[in-house]
Amino acid sequence: MRFIWSKITHLLLVVLAVTMLTFVMTDRLPADIAAEIAGHGASAAELAEVRERLGLNRPVLLRYATWIGGVCRGEFGKSLITEQPVSTALRSHLPVTLELLALSQLFALLLALPAGIISAWRSGSPLDRVTGTFAFGCASLPNYALAMGLVFLFALKLKLLPATGYTPLNAGIGANLKGFLLPALSIALVEWVTLMRVLRSDLIATLKEDFILLARCKGLPTWRILLVHALRPSCITFITVLGMQTASLIGGAVIIETVFALPGIGRLLVTAIFAQDFPVIQGGVLLITVSYVCINFLVDLCYAALDPRVRTGVTDG
């Protein structure tokens, strides 16, 4: 219980620090949003009036306190540009990001798990080398270049899949998935490499352990040794990396969203930063930080579930 509480306070601290930092940093942005909103040639009085209305002339920390108070009540403010509530904007962009994330991580896992296990089991074999070389290639390719390559091949040349654009789910699941296939693949083809490599190296280390030798002495079939005995203790780094990747995908798939014109959270944020739409930036950062923190918490719980030694804390009697 104490473990969980200390974790939660730590995570709350992180969320507070990140949002406050965002406030302070965005406040120092050089351009003036008030001038933008008031329009060109607005008088000083009009500018002041806009600032007053938006609360921009109050000290940063005071504005932060107000904002946090609002967040606690469930109010995230309204966009300065579109006047749309921030929560609505986030809600409309979130499903795209989530679907992209789920699909790409699914592809990455489908590639990384079998490849990692097989190349650890047969490490040094030609199969391992081929997998390794392929992985090297994938890891060295920027995902935007990969995305362009995929578009060039599947959309422009073969004309199998749409090059860009987002089809909402209610327009048919087939069309929707078709639109997500290339973006998810461009993310997965880069991300699976890290997953595969940590799994492979941890598995190789585990396979050298005495308890694997004992499992072999017990006459267990190979699949059982690999999947039941070796995989679970080798998953710690794998889970960590998976968590970090997932967390970074929530806000970080901007480039892929841009290439494929997908209206996700990342694009929303970048647009907001260019427009200096503070409430949207704040809302987006809050969402991303909270998801990062939650995923980290889940990863910690996974550690405890995977390894009983973490659960009980004491290592030796």
Binding site: V18, T22, R129, V293
Partner: protein, 294 residues
């Protein structure tokens, strides 16, 4: 925490036949690929460093109005981009950006990582908690937002981008340095050093640093590849160094508009970046292999 007994000696049963070969490189991507990687990197470094010194028919922003998005060959060795600028010139000057970022940002991260990671791994307790919370704050910060705001506040330039990326990746170095320090800080030779009168600083510098420097250098190379790609990503979004300074990412992005008509405009910078990152990864893996075995 219940202090566990020192590990009993490993069973000699372990030594022997079933030794599993460590990383990919041993054999597979053997000597040739390693030396090829080194050669390529030296070539790129040399070009980037000396590009201003020898005469070159085109400058980076010189527009050839007769050739828009020309294919390789003719006056322009590798063709021109959509606005008629020579690709070779832009590649060479773009290498400066990519390599500066790719070398300086990881080294900055490495420095921060050692400076904060070693103490947090050695002292544990509140020192560790403070440093790790700090690292978590940066890790939790959406990277792109951080970079965007950072560069717009300080003005977009090569320095700010390098510094921004360096700051962004330093928590990862802190984590790796800390994890490696912890791995060694419980070993008996650290206690032996204390008994021998070594202070904390001397333990960090003489006992821990030589042991963790290897794995950290390997990690630095991994990050260098990542940073070059990330800088390219910024360039792709038009957020890297301001034009007309070329960057590889920006060139790839520019090639997107003429992808259907003239694929080489995008493919050539992609290939150059790919080869560079691949070389770094090959060397990094070789390095990692050495330290994994030790």
């Amino acid at each position: 925490m219940g202090k566990s007994k020192a590990n009993p000696p490993k069973s000699p049963f372990q030594k022997g036949g079933l030794q599993l070969a460590p990383p990919f490189t041993k054999g597979g991507l053997g000597g040739i690929s390693f030396y090829a990687a080194i050669t390529w990197l030296i070539l790129v470094l040399f070009c980037a460093a000396s590009v201003g010194l020898w005469p070159f028919p085109f400058t980076v922003d010189q527009i050839d109005a007769e050739h828009f998005a020309a294919l390789p060959g003719g006056a322009h060795l590798l063709g021109t981009d959509a606005t008629g600028r020579d690709i070779v010139a832009r590649l060479l000057f773009g290498a400066r950006v990519s390599l500066t970022v790719g070398i300086c940002a990881p080294l900055f991260g490495l420095g921060v990582g050692l400076l904060l990671g070693m103490p947090s791994g050695l002292y544990r307790g509140w020192t560790e908690r403070t440093i790790m919370t700090l690292a978590d704050v940066i890790l939790a910060f959406p990277g792109l937002v951080f970079l965007l705001v950072f560069t717009s506040v300080l003005g977009p330039s090569l320095t700010t981008i390098t510094l921004g990326l360096g700051l962004l990746i330093s928590p990862r170095f802190v984590r790796v340095a800390r994890a490696n320090t912890i791995r060694f800080s419980e070993r008996e030779f650290i206690q032996a050093a204390r008994i021998g009168g070594a202070g904390d600083i001397s333990i960090m510098l003489r006992e821990i640093l030589p042991n963790i420097l290897g794995p950290l250098m390997a990690y630095t190379l991994v990050v260098a590849g990542f940073v070059i790609v990330a800088e390219g990503g910024l360039g792709f979004l038009g957020l890297s160094v301001p034009s007309p300074t070329p960057s590889w990412g920006g060139m790839i992005a520019a090639g997107r508009d003429v992808l259907e008509q003239t694929p080489p405009v995008a493919m050539i910078p992609t290939a150059v970046m790919f080869l560079t990152v691949l070389s770094i990864n090959v060397i990094g893996d070789r390095l990692r292999g050495r330290y994994d075995r030790a």
